[in-house]
């Protein structure tokens, strides 16, 4: 029994670690300025926790086997060892707290540093179960929206107030198209319940909360079409609420924007 249990714990440990290290399931390649730091911090955490995981599980397996009841010798009567307690307490404290401080730089860049004033601003609106994207147009200003005007059935999903001149040139799309290598600031809105903006390649996620204007900024560095699924449970269609982040060349983006503006 002892040997079997020790082997089972060891096998579970090694198989789990194998798939973390060599499994086919991994992050998609990153396309934002956070990606490199994110992947590094993840790897660092994986290595540290991996080492602890390995030694804790194998220590357990060893104890199970080594100190099985049938063994020769006496039980070591001991109520503990304060020096050891201090050792592993401080080792754990240094490792864990060190890790969290080490990784804060990504968070600081994503959330404490505001977007550059010259970044492209775009609104992302969630509703059950679609995304709408709004561009401010040539004036760079978003027009006022009114809940009572929000009618998808007549092509006004965001209810832009016709009396507000800033809204005249606003463009509403169903795909988040952006030019490559230019910083984008996303302003998140929700019409009804909480949704969540997530593009795995950006290494970014942020809830769209009704009543709040949550913000994100990023600079996409690779042209392509990336899926943008909803990441917060929003109702029965949650699993199909998806659009795309479409990173284009400057020229393609300008052309796309003109196409969107011309109905």
């Amino acid at each position: 029994m002892a040997l079997m249990l020790a082997l089972a714990i060891t096998a579970i440990t090694l198989i789990s670690m194998y798939f973390f290290a060599y499994g086919p399931w991994w992050f998609p390649p990153f396309i934002s300025e956070y990606g490199a730091a994110y992947d590094k911090q993840f790897m660092l955490t994986l290595i540290i926790t991996g080492i602890i995981f390995f030694f804790a599980q194998l220590g357990l397996a060893y104890a199970v086997f080594r100190y099985r009841g049938q063994r020769e010798g006496k039980v070591h009567y001991s109520h503990g060892n304060n020096a050891l307690e201090v050792l592993w307490t401080s080792a754990a404290a240094v490792l864990f707290i060190g890790l969290v401080f080490w990784g804060q730089n990504i968070w600081v860049r994503a959330h404490l540093r505001p977007a550059d004033p010259g970044s492209m601003r775009v609104e992302v609106w969630g509703q059950q179960f679609t995304w709408y994207i709004r561009y401010p147009g040539a004036d760079g200003k978003f027009g006022r929206t009114k809940p009572e005007l929000m009618k998808e059935s007549i092509g006004q999903p965001l209810g832009i107030d016709p009396d507000d001149p800033a809204g005249k040139d606003d463009i509403v799309a169903t795909v988040l198209a952006v030019p490559v290598n230019r910083e984008v600031e996303v302003i998140l809105h929700s019409k009804d319940v909480i949704h969540s903006f997530f593009v795995p390649e950006l290494r970014l996620k942020q809830d769209a909360v009704p009543g709040l204007e949550n913000r994100l900024h990023f600079t996409p560095s690779k042209i392509g079409r990336y899926e943008m699924p909803c990441a917060e449970l929003c109702g029965l269609g949650h699993y199909q609420m998806r659009t795309f982040l479409d990173v284009k060349t400057d020229a393609d983006f300008e052309q796309w924007l003109r196409d969107q503006a011309a109905p």
Binding site: A8, H76, L84, E152, G211
Partner: protein
């Protein structure tokens, strides 16, 4: 109320009842109430597990037809109802009910040398309120629209606007809130009772630092419960008022659902609910796991025939987990739009919880180190508990960092994490507790072979279910998705879902072995002696099962801590807490 006076008062409160109803239904006896809680949790865990089985079937084979669900494939709203009810039933009616209400009620008074809980009537009330809460929860399946689909966290506005946001969000959601509110009342009554009992009713010689770690765990859990459930109760009432009385605590103005403007609401904050919910919800994690830690500590020491390694460190670790547990709720909200500065503070507090958790893990292994391990069924489960707690705890080191949460939040990585650490680790604590205390509770031994067989399927089984979920999360798989058809990159992950489902079918089937073992042993198991495990604590000084007032009117006197095994020079390899024999370190 002094110690000894308190003991006698409690004893005098009630005489052994004669009628069936007073003895087994509306009983004041903490042992009967403990068994009632335990049966309630056993019922609930099978409901919750059946729900998860259906969820797994849908995830593996989205277009297949399943029995009991009518014609056609399972709808996404049904999937979400199962998900919501699975989470709710498991967290509240299993993870909170069995470890604390069940084992705590049964064993705490005996382990501290009391005749009963401080407030036996309150104890009975807390069980029956919890029972009604469960009935109300299950009834949500049978009303128009069915059970709610907003997840066990019930985030508004989805949970606050009524049926317009989805089926199940009408009457089903209202019943959900009422059930949770009732549950909070029951939990609060229970928590008060545990605290008063531990403080007031300890027998002569049972100083705080001689209490078994199980008692410390239940005591700290009760304090957490007292502070946390009140907040959830308040939050639940506010949410109910938003739904029924037209208030707007959690509902901002200008919402448009299905082109309909929610004109009657303005000014509320969805994040307020999240703060209230997680101020309860995070301590709840420790409410679920602390009693398991206590049971594991107890069992590891008993079956290693060795004193617990670092008793005081274990107590302080549990206390600091309890305190820190109230300062970390924001780590559930890193992505919510809460202040990014507070996220950084919450993350430091969160990673700090890794420190007492590491202490406990090392001390468990230290307890086994140098011992002579008896591989009984409870010991196997306790070892499994340690392994699962380590595995589940370490993925928390990822999720506690807001930077890494930017990607991992709301993915299967989270699902894998919490199922290992507060789900199956706590469940293994319950397996351990059940097999360990069963002889005392029912006077008969459980079948060892059946118990071991169950362990050998379940232990690898839960790893096969929950470890791959981490890989899904790394690959970017969002949680709470009814299937993988809506997002292209998820299609490649479908084989993992099939694997997990197969593992789940096998593991869930094996749980029948445990139930068969329980009911077979209850009637056919070999008679249990007073102290079948050769353990030192007070419940093993009384007959199995104990008499109505536990000690037959003769209260025990305690001379040692609870972990005197293999004492050099002692007559046997253990010294009972009630034995006046001298031992080294008898100070604790």
């Amino acid at each position: 109320m002094g110690h000894t006076a308190g003991t006698h008062d409690a004893h005098a409160v009630h005489e052994a009842p004669q009628s069936f109803i007073r003895k087994y239904i509306f009983s004041y006896d903490h042992k009967v109430i403990g068994i009632q809680y335990w049966f309630l949790a056993l019922t609930a865990v099978f409901v919750g597990m059946a729900l998860s089985l259906y969820m797994r079937l849908r995830l593996a084979w989205p277009s297949a037809h399943f029995p009991l669900l009518g014609s056609g494939p399972m709808t996404p709203e049904t999937y979400l109802s199962l998900l919501t009810m699975h989470g709710t039933i498991m967290v509240f009616f299993v993870l909170t009910t069995a470890p604390q209400g069940g084992f705590g009620n049964y064993a705490l008074p005996i382990q501290i040398g009391a005749a009963d809980m401080a407030f036996p009537f309150l104890n009975m009330m807390s069980f029956w309120v919890t029972f009604v809460a469960f009935a109300v929860m299950v009834s949500a399946f049978f009303v128009t629209g069915g059970a709610p689909l907003g997840g066990w966290t019930a985030y508004p506005p989805l949970s606050a606007l009524g049926a317009i946001t989805g089926p199940g969000e009408g009457t089903g959601m209202t019943l959900w809130i009422i059930s949770i509110a009732l549950f909070c009342v029951g939990a609060l009554l229970g928590a008060l009772n545990f605290i008063a009992t531990t403080i007031d009713l300890r027998t002569k010689g049972m100083s705080l630092m001689r209490m078994p770690l199980t008692v410390w765990a239940w005591f700290i859990t009760a304090i957490l419960g007292l502070l946390a459930f009140g907040v959830l109760l308040a939050g639940g009432i506010l949410l109910l008022m938003d739904r029924l009385a037209g208030t707007s605590f959690f509902i901002p103005g200008g919402l448009v659902v299905s082109e309909q403007v929610m004109v009657s609401h303005s000014g509320g904050s969805p994040l307020l609910w999240q703060h209230l919910f997680w101020f309860f919800g995070h301590p709840e994690v420790y409410i679920a796991i602390l009693p398991g830690m206590g049971a594991a500590s107890q069992i590891l020491s008993v079956f290693s025939r060795k004193p617990i390694f670092g008793y005081r460190a274990m107590v302080y670790a549990m206390l600091s987990i309890g305190i820190l547990g109230f300062l970390v709720w924001g780590h559930h909200m890193f992505i919510s739009g809460m202040s990014p500065y507070s996220a950084m503070a919450f993350s430091v507090m969160t990673l700090s919880i890794g420190v007492p958790s590491a202490i406990k893990t090392f001390n468990w292994i230290g307890t086994m180190w140098g011992g002579k391990i008896r591989f009984t069924a409870p010991m196997l489960y306790a070892i499994g508990f340690v392994s699962l707690f380590v595995s589940g705890g370490l993925s928390g080191i990822f999720l506690g960092q807001p930077s890494l949460d930017l990607y991992l939040h709301d993915t299967y990585f989270v699902v894998g994490h919490f199922h290992l650490v507060m789900g199956v680790a706590a469940i293994f604590g319950m397996f351990a507790g059940t097999t360990y205390w069963f002889p005392k509770m029912f006077g008969r031994m459980m079948h060892e072979g059946l118990g071991k067989l169950h362990f050998w399927i379940t232990f690898p089984g839960v790893y096969a279910i929950f470890m791959p979920m981490h890989y899904l999360g790394i690959a970017g798989h969002m949680r709470r998705y009814a299937d993988t058809t809506g997002v292209n990159y998820l299609a490649a992950l479908q084989p993992v879902h099939v694997f997990i489902t197969v593992a789940a079918i096998i593991t869930i089937s094996a749980q029948l072995l445990f139930v068969i073992n329980i009911f077979w042993s209850m009637f056919k198991g070999p008679k249990a002696t007073e102290n079948p495990w050769e353990a030192t604590t007070l419940e093993w000084t009384v007959p199995s099962p104990p008499p109505h007032d536990n000690f037959g009117g003769k209260m025990p006197v305690v001379y040692h801590g609870a972990y005197e095994y293999s004492v050099p020079g002692a007559a046997k390899d253990y010294v009972m807490q009630t034995s006046p024999e001298a031992v080294p370190h008898s100070g604790h």
